[in-house]
């Protein structure tokens, strides 16, 4: 039982940390996207120092997806904290969805790479991998670790 609650604690910590990272990245990207869209403020400082650092260009839907993934993890953490084991389901689905969107962005990157290097599309001349690196890709490393660690456990949830 102690071991079981220990594992739950692990998952709670994982969900809190991952969820917060996603929410943070999503919020910064959302703020940057809204400012860019509405042309509200001079973004030069913000863009070069924070958004560029996070590889988070103006992308409203991308930012909302990060927030959604973050919310799923946090929802799971709150459920576990309230004593409901259903929270594990939220962590499991959070991991799946974050990996799914990391895969979507990697495929988009692959498409652009093919366009640029194989087909020499002049529209994306000088394209580099960094151009398409998104928070959903590098943040995906955390859920991937979670998946690899708890893969078996998630698979046995019904037993």
């Amino acid at each position: 039982m102690e071991h079981y609650s220990g594992r739950l604690k692990e998952k709670m910590l994982f969900a809190s940390f991952t969820g917060l990272l996603y929410v943070l990245a999503g919020s910064i990207q959302l703020f940057f996207s809204l400012c860019t869209m509405m042309d509200l403020c001079n973004m030069s400082y913000f863009k070069s120092d924070i958004a560029d650092l996070l590889f988070a260009p103006s992308d409203l839907i991308g930012s909302l997806i990060l927030l959604l993934i973050g919310s799923i993890f946090i929802y799971g953490m709150l459920d576990l904290r309230n004593g409901s084991n259903e929270g594990i389901a939220y962590i499991y689905v959070g991991i799946l969805i974050s990996l799914l969107f990391a895969a979507v962005y990697v495929l988009v990157m692959t498409g652009n790479w093919m366009d640029s290097y194989l087909l020499n599309d002049p529209e994306i001349k000088g394209w580099d991998f960094v151009n398409d690196l998104r928070p959903a890709i590098y943040l995906g490393a955390l859920p991937l670790c979670g998946y690899l660690i708890w893969k078996k456990e998630f698979g046995n949830m019904n037993k």
Partner: protein, 664 residues
């Protein structure tokens, strides 16, 4: 029927694997979906096995023989009227208890029955202990374990079909309904027996049970009989609704008594699938997750398909150049280069996008997620006057509106069904995708995926708003309650995904080689005639047609070329792009259609947006008009659908164009 011929009906609850089993036995490639209601018509196929010619009929899924919706009527009538030699009920091994309700009704029919206990691997995987021998003994019929998707148990099933066909005795199992109901059954049976024709056609006890169950279809079947009035008098003296409920109770009592003997540890418990559902169908997270997944699908459809699209485009450009250089006389080079290669090539270059979208939708469908989507939106749909069941045809409509409109047969309530049919053409089919990709890709480059996603969302929004309008005016009424069985989540296989992608996508390749090619030739002729005029000029026939309709579409920002392309889009929506390909002379020079559009001073992002909105909503293509007429049986509703679509499209495109012009 000859002794070596066997007619087998496949029946069962929705989404238990009937069509998969049908495909495995007959080698057919009927569409299989991981949601209920995929089969709305019966389909038949043949199998030669051990010297027997076995005709297999795949019936639409039904929960009971009390047929409520059109597809259930098809299933029930076939078993009752056509009397197949053997009826195979496919039972979902992970949900035996619910499936047994139909079993109790089928057994009353006295047909030769076999139970195919499908997906038993999934039941075992989750820890159920099925006692198949006990099941055979209790139900007094053969039970064969199958995994249709893996071709397991099929030979045993076919062997059992042959041995059942050779048996003389029919199934004689019956449920006791209690003294009061049994006496009424006997009374009705006695009256029915006076009609010898009826007695030779149907089992009388079954007829009596159905009549006491308040089955309107059965009442219609006996309406021409000499005993019809006597039966009606008996039924009028009874509270049929109460009888119906009592009889259903008795069936459930029976199931509750039998089920624990057939399956140990088959109690309800939380599975992985249930756990995932807690999140996917969460009140607050369900819809955002659905929207995010759909956006992901459209983003990939545009971005990942882009290099493949470029390759196809380059091939057709090269072909066009070759035609211009090597083919003589000039008119033939123009017909091939500007007409056929330009038109067909413009559509062909979007085939990678169409295939990728279908592949992704098929993965979502096979995983079982799309059935959840119907569940998630049910609450919203109910508020606007439709039931969640209407969302399943809408999802099918992303592929093609024709099968989507046919799928509305699973909607029991006529008003719900009519409203769904009327709004389905607003759901963006694959044929409209090339238009969006062309214009979004040309004028919105990096945000193209998001623009296309928004266009699809607009289609859904207009559909649901129109449904609300219809349900509060001409098709007034409350939506029927929606009961949807959620299939378990499954890991989608690449093989199935590719098969579905090919099934849906190959239609566009065929269309490109037939209708689109024909349309391109017609448009080329109209652009080249009368002889002597400049190709595609305002003085050509197409220019004259374009100019005559342009005043109607001018307020939306469309010039005569766009106007005439939209007109030809009535035949098939892909022709819009093919026409533009012909009119912009693709194939004759080194420029792709996108370059020609960018160079056109009349075209800019607002016009592109207005055009996408108009293409999404304006009249359905000719095939959809045909199916609307067939399914509604009314020219009035068909005409309404066309007129309503045109008006809504014009108004919204007007708002987009004029509003956009004011803002820039």
């Amino acid at each position: 029927m000859a002794d070596n011929k066997i007619r087998v009906a496949l029946t069962g609850n929705p989404n238990v694997g009937k069509t998969t089993l049908f495909n495995v036995i007959t080698g057919s490639k009927q569409h299989v979906g991981n949601w209920p209601g995929v089969t709305v018509e019966k389909k038949s196929g043949f199998k030669i096995y051990k010297g027997y010619e076995i005709e297999v009929i795949d019936l639409p899924g039904t929960y009971s023989l009390t047929a409520y919706s059109l597809d259930e009527v098809v299933a029930r009538d076939f078993i009752v009227d056509e009397k197949p030699d053997v009826v195979i009920q496919i039972v979902d091994a992970t949900n035996i208890e619910r499936n047994l309700y139909l079993t109790t009704q089928l057994m009353e029919l006295g047909s030769k029955m076999i139970i195919a206990l499908n997906m038993y691997d999934l039941a075992e995987e989750r820890g159920d202990k099925l006692n198949v021998e006990k099941m055979k003994e209790i139900l007094a019929m053969p039970v064969v374990c199958t995994i249709a998707s893996d071709n397991v148990g099929i030979s045993e099933l076919l062997d059992t079909v042959i041995s059942e066909k050779q048996k003389d005795d029919h199934h004689a199992w019956r449920i006791g309904y209690g003294d009061e109901i049994e006496s009424k059954i006997l009374e009705i049976e006695k009256v029915l027996s006076q009609d010898s024709e009826l007695a030779s056609k149907y089992p009388l006890r079954w007829l009596a049970v159905r009549l006491l169950d308040g089955d309107e279809n059965i009442l219609n079947k006996i309406s021409g009989s000499i005993i019809a009035s006597e039966i009606k008098n008996i039924l009028a003296s009874l509270d049929i609704e109460e009888y119906e409920a009592l009889m259903a109770d008795k069936r459930y009592e029976c199931i509750n008594a039998l089920f624990p003997q057939m399956c140990e540890r088959c109690m309800t418990r939380m599975t992985t699938s249930d756990m995932i559902d807690r999140v996917m169908t969460n009140k607050y997270l369900g819809i955002p997750i659905f929207l995010a997944l759909m956006w992901g699908a459209f983003e990939l459809t545009f971005s990942f398909a882009s290099p493949f699209m470029t390759i196809v485009e380059k091939i057709f450009l090269w072909l066009g150049e070759m035609a211009a250089i090597h083919i003589h006389p000039d008119w033939l080079a123009s017909l091939l280069g500007e007409g056929i290669i330009g038109g067909v090539g413009s559509v062909f270059s979007f085939i990678p996008n169409i295939f990728i979208l279908f592949f992704l939708l098929s993965l979502l469908e096979d995983s079982g997620y799309l059935a959840r989507a119907a569940f998630i939106v049910d609450r919203i749909m109910y508020k606007i006057g439709l039931q969640g069941k209407s969302f399943i045809p809408m999802l099918l409509g992303f592929g093609c509106n024709v099968p989507a409109i046919m799928a509305t047969r699973s909607i029991e309530d006529r008003m719900d069904r009519m409203a769904t049919i009327m709004v389905l053409p607003f759901i963006s089919c694959g044929a409209r995708l090339p238009i969006y990709i062309l214009f979004a890709g040309t004028f919105f480059s990096k945000n193209a995926g998001t623009v296309i996603f928004c266009i699809y969302l607009l289609g859904i929004l207009v559909a649901v708003t129109s449904a609300k309008l219809l349900r509060t005016t001409t098709l007034k009424g409350h939506p029927a309650p929606f009961i949807l069985e959620l299939p378990p989540y499954r890991i989608p296989t690449i093989k199935n995904g590719i098969r579905h992608m090919w099934d849906n996508g190959s239609m566009y390749i065929k269309k490109a080689g037939t209708i689109i090619m024909g349309g391109s030739v017609v448009i080329w002729l109209l652009a080249a005639l009368p002889w002597g005029v400049e190709y595609g000029s305002e003085n050509s026939f197409i220019g004259i047609i374009g100019h005559s309709i342009q005043p109607l579409l001018g307020p939306l920002g469309f010039d005569w070329k766009i106007s005439v392309s939209l007109l030809f889009g009535f035949v098939a929506k892909e022709i819009v792009v093919a026409s533009l390909g012909v009119l912009y002379g693709v194939g004759d020079d080194h420029f792709a259609l996108t370059d020609s559009l960018l160079a056109d001073p009349n075209m800019h992002s607002i016009t592109a947006l207005s055009l996408m909105v108009f293409s999404l909503l304006y009249m359905p293509c000719i095939a959809v008009v045909g199916i609307i007429k067939k399914e509604t049986g009314s020219w009035k509703w068909t005409a309404f659908s066309i007129a309503y679509g045109l008006i809504v499209a014009w108004l919204l495109a007007f708002v987009v164009f004029q509003g956009g012009m004011l803002l820039i």
